[in-house]
Every structure is written in structure tokens, then in C-alpha cells.
Amino acid sequence: MRQLTFAQAINETFHQMMDKHENVFLIGQGVISPWYVGATTVDLLEKFGDSRVIDTPIAENGITGAAVGAAIAGMRPVVVHPRMDFMYLAMDQIINHAANWYYMFGSQVSVPLTVWGIINRGGEQSSQHSQAIQAIFAHVPGLKVVMPSTPYDVKGLLVSSILDDNPVIFIDDRWLYGIQGDVPEEIYSIPIGKGVVRKEGKDITLVATSYMVHEAEKAAELLGEEGIDVEVIDLRTIKPLDEDLLFESVRKTGRLAIADGGWKTCGVAAEISALISENIFEHLISPIVRVTLPDTPAPASSKLEKEYYPTYKNIMVAVRNMVKKA
């Protein structure tokens, strides 16, 4: 099968989906910019014109609200926030409006909107160009949250997000953009709410999100050489969580570590931890461990960044400690 990069897979998805569905359009800051969204929007403007590839004034709340309105009217917009941090300005439209709309009006009107947020961290960009806030959106009833980690998954999940009749927060990470992988040429979808086992194992379940999946896989490989057999799960969807997959794995291994790129307190790892202990506590033979960002904003200096962002090394230390305790 031919290989595409993560960014190319996104680009192809937009080309194919906008070609097939006239009601799909892309709107947001930097959609025609050479740097804002990587190489994900190459040739879209040329092919579909500025009525469907809409670069915008810097007005995150107003523009996201317009995307919500267009979704209410039956379009399937994708509104992009090239740095997830900017989504805060649109929280009213995403949460008070888009997330609530279906429930608030008696399940009569849905909002088939995709809100695409890019985790833009690193490169000494500091605290406002780096945040990974999947936990904030996962907390809100009415939103779905997906985090694809491979070229195959990003195409399949972007398709599903666009075709979903609900507001989906589609989160990727610019560190994924260069990763290569097999991507089928046709349009296909990956169901929202389904994770996947990346590597089977019997000693410990290691759940990871987005870029941390690659760190987890690397950690698992090295731990394998130390005789620890790690099962790596790529969550793919944060909300709704694939509970069955998680329970099945932890019943088998008895140990759970979660690697997530958000902050520690009230993060995705905390939710998974609670879920496991509520439902299959008797299968645990070790406390659950979280590998996350520390509870501080992101720094600028590279030296600080190196210590701030968790890597496969942090995961390996955490896993070794868990296995040792037993």
C-alpha cells in the first residue's frame, strides 16, 4: 500500500470529502497560510475556491459561532484553530451553544460540526502555543473528542468526525505531521468511540493518546527487551471512551498505566483511572499510574522543554516501578 504522511492524509481527506459532499467546507485562521496548518490544506483553495476554503479575520468566537450556525443549517463545516490554545476564545460557542444545542431543544436540532484543534507545542513557543486540552472538552456532555495518532487513523477519524451529526473536537499534534504510514486511497471511516491495541502484551496495559502513543510504543519495545510484556492501547477517541477495550485489557494484565499529553490534574488519565477502579477493581494487582505533563504551564527554553514533555523514558520508569511493586 502507498504511504502518506499524517499531514498528507489530512490533505487527501479534505480533497476527497469536499469533492464528495458539497456541504463540507473548511473555515478558520490560516487555512490558506503556508505555515499555520502545516501542509494539510495544500491545493484546497485552488480546487474548491474561497467560498468553501475560508480564511478568516482573527475572531475565534465569531468564526466558530458562524461554523456552529452553518452546521445548524445543515452544512458540515470544519473550523480550524491552528493552535488549540486559541479555542478558549470560542468556548462559549463550542460549549454553551454547540454542545448544548441537541439536548437543550429536545433532541430536535443537531450540530454536525468538526472543530479541529492543533496541539502546537515545542519550538520554545511557551504556554499559549502549546496546550493539549482534550480533558476540558471531554468533560462536556454533548461533545465528542478524537485524537488520531497515525496517518491511517487521521484519515478515518476525520471522515467520521465530518460525517458525525454531533460536534466533534478533532485534535491532532504537529509532532505527528511527518509520520509516515499506510493509507488506503478510498474514503473509509474509523468509528468514533473505538480504541485499538497497537501491541499485545500480558504484563501491563499501557494506554496512550495522540503523540504519546508513539512514545508508548517505543517504551514498550524497550521494556520488552527487559522482559516486561506491555500491551499498548491507542485510545483514538477520548470521548466516548472505549470502555470495553480497556476493561478487557486490564482484566488480562491487572496493571494500568496511562500516558496522556495533557496536564495531570483532572486529565484524561484521571478519568480512565476512575473508570477502571469503579468497574473492575478486583482485577487490579497494582495501583494505576499516570504519565502526564506536570501541573505547570509550558516553558519556552529548550532546556526546560526537555524536562517538561514526558517521553518514552518517563513511561519506562513508571512501568518498571509498577511491575517491581508486584
Partner: protein, 343 residues
């Protein structure tokens, strides 16, 4: 005190209209009259029901502002969209929303237009272009812009109307919406109902410049300020703006000067709270949009006195029937069900 001296007509050449009742079809005049009466009677009844604690949800009443909702919606098709605010009863009814379903919603019943999950502030009539009202001030202005964007992309001739109050013009979302709508020449009409108060604050306490219609000119949007209690002026001005938008000429901003009789929320008049003066409320109640219109219709022979009494009684009965329908409706069951939250 806010009275007539504050009302200055500022027509924009693109929106200039002929203020003659003769130019409006009679059927339209009668339709608007009945709709205004329906809103007035419904709101009065709801005020009583709130006083009797039969309705619990917060009701922000539209009494006194009827000419704005009715005058604007009278030129809209079913497929045009209207977005409104916490004070949505008038817009909901004027767009064609069902009175019984609205009343049942206020009573928190499963037969309500939002199945008991929205209350007064979140009415919906999606089949007739009223997809939902929001209580976040200025929250629906971008939504209307987005609907207009969808019409532009699909090359439809429909328009979106955004109703909001004077208070909403303090919100950033207002400016973001105007700029984008003007930039892309979107078919959205911005209707600012300036009733001189934002919750408890008089306009002079919160606005550095109280000529709200002037804010459209900043974005090259044709803007005007009109007497929001003159149904003919509202109708004609809105009609011109709507037709202009349908023809691809872009948005318009119409500031309608009006007054809400009741306080910000509930049946009282906010006089007891020291927020408004009795004399001021009295002046505006005498400047009643329905009374003025009625006098004109009778004078022009478009309705007779007999018809007036007959219509009034019919509408009174409609409102009573709506209350009966509401009270008879079952309460919804609480369900922590995924299918209520996600489609």
C-alpha cells in the same frame, strides 16, 4: 427619563422606505395586527401565571416590543432563519412557532417545544426556521451569520435574521459578526432592539456612545435607527433590508427604538426595585405599538370595531386553550440517556 426626544429617524439611502400604510397589502396588515395581539395577550397571561407560581422558569417578557418581531418576521419565508435571545417569545410566535408548544415548554412539560429541557429562554421551532434561542447575550449573532454563510455557499436566496438587544452591542461577538458578515456580503439582517436597558443597567451607564446604529457604518453596513413601535416603519425598513440581502447585497443593521413594559424578567415592572420610573413606564405604555396600529387600521377602514372585538376574543381563547394544553401535558421523565445528548 427616556421618551420621544430620544427618537431620531436616521434613514440610510439603501434602506429608505415609504412610510405609507397604503403601500402595505391589507392581508399583511391584518396578519401583523393579529400576531401582535397574540404576543401581547400571551405575554400578559404568562405574567399572571408566573405571579401565581404556575410557571417557574424565568420568563423575560416581550410586552411592548411586539412591533419589532412582527414587523421584521412579516417579510420572512418559512426557510429563512431567525435567531433570538432569552427574550424569545415574541420572535418565536412571529416566525410561526406554535403557541401551545411554547406554553407547554414554559410549564416544563414533555409536550413543550423543547420537550421541557429548554424552558422560556430556549424555545425552538426548527420546522419553521427558528432552530433555537440562546440566553448568552450576543451568543446567537454569530449563529445567524453562519446560517447566512451557508445560504451564500449554497447560492440560496434565503436570509438569516439576528434579533438582539442594546446590551448585546457591548459584546465582542457583535463586532466579530458584523465584520465577517460585511466582508463576505452575507444575507444576514441585524436587528438591535434598543429598549434602553440591559437587565438592570440603563443604556447611558454602559455605552460610551448610545447611537447604536452608527456601529454598522464602521463596517460599511447600511444602518438605520427607526421607531421600533411603528409597525409600518419596522415592516417597510426590514422588508427593504431583507430584499437587498436576498439579492446578494449583504447585511444591514436596523436599530429599533422600543421599550419593554415589564422588568428584565418576570411580571413586575422594575419600578419597585428602583430601576425605572413610573412616569417613564406610563409614557411608553401610552406609546403602545398595538394601540397606535389599531387606531390606524380602524381609521383606514381595514378593520371594523366589530372585527376588532371578534379578533381579540378569538385570540384570548387561543391563549386560554394553550394554557389548558400546557397544564394537561405530561412531565418528561429524567433519563441519563446518550440518545438525548447525541444524535
Amino acid at each position: 427619563m427616556i421618551t420621544e426626544q430620544h427618537m431620531i429617524n436616521k434613514p440610510h439611502s439603501d434602506l429608505a422606505t415609504i412610510d405609507y400604510i397604503e403601500s402595505v397589502p391589507q392581508a399583511k396588515l391584518r396578519f401583523m395586527y393579529e400576531m401582535m395581539l397574540q404576543i401581547r395577550q400571551a405575554e400578559g397571561k404568562i405574567a399572571d401565571l408566573v405571579s401565581q407560581r404556575k410557571i417557574i422558569c424565568p420568563c423575560h417578557l416581550y410586552e411592548g416590543q411586539e412591533a419589532v418581531a412582527v414587523g421584521v418576521c412579516a417579510s420572512l419565508e418559512r426557510e429563512d432563519y431567525v435567531f433570538s435571545t432569552h427574550r424569545s417569545h415574541g420572535h418565536y410566535l412571529a416566525k410561526g412557532g406554535d403557541l401551545k408548544a411554547m406554553m407547554a415548554e414554559l410549564f416544563g412539560r414533555a409536550t413543550g417545544c423543547s420537550k421541557g429541557r429548554g424552558g422560556s429562554m430556549h424555545l425552538a421551532a426548527p420546522d419553521i426556521g427558528f432552530p433555537g434561542s440562546s440566553a448568552i447575550v450576543a451568543g446567537t449573532i454569530p449563529l445567524a451569520v453562519g446560517v447566512a454563510l451557508s445560504f451564500a455557499i449554497q447560492r440560496k436566496e434565503n436570509v438569516a435574521v439576528s434579533f438582539f438587544g442594546d446590551g448585546a452591542t457591548c459584546e465582542g461577538a457583535f463586532y466579530e459578526s458584523l465584520n465577517f458578515a460585511a466582508l463576505k456580503k452575507l444575507p444576514v439582517i441585524f436587528i438591535c432592539e434598543n429598549n434602553y436597558y440591559s437587565t438592570h443597567m440603563p443604556i447611558s451607564s454602559i455605552q460610551a456612545n448610545t447611537d447604536l446604529y452608527k456601529r454598522g457604518a464602521v463596517f460599511n453596513i447600511p444602518s438605520t435607527q427607526i421607531d421600533g413601535n411603528d409597525i409600518i416603519e419596522v415592516y417597510q425598513t426590514a422588508k427593504a433590508a431583507i430584499e437587498r440581502a436576498r439579492n446578494g447585497k449583504g447585511p444591514a443593521l436596523i436599530e429599533c427604538l422600543t421599550y419593554r413594559w415589564r422588568g428584565h424578567v418576570g411580571p413586575n415592572y422594575d419600578i419597585d426595585k428602583g430601576l425605572r420610573e413610573q412616569l417613564e413606564v406610563d409614557w411608553w405604555m401610552n406609546n403602545c405599538p398595538i394601540k397606535k396600529f389599531e387606531e390606524m387600521l380602524l381609521k383606514e377602514g381595514i378593520i371594523t370595531d366589530y372585527e376588532k372585538r371578534h379578533i381579540t376574543e378569538r385570540i384570548r381563547q387561543q391563549v386560554e386553550d394553550a394554557v389548558v394544553f400546557a397544564e394537561r401535558g405530561p412531565f418528561p421523565e429524567f433519563e441519563d440517556k446518550i440518545s438525548q445528548v447525541y444524535k
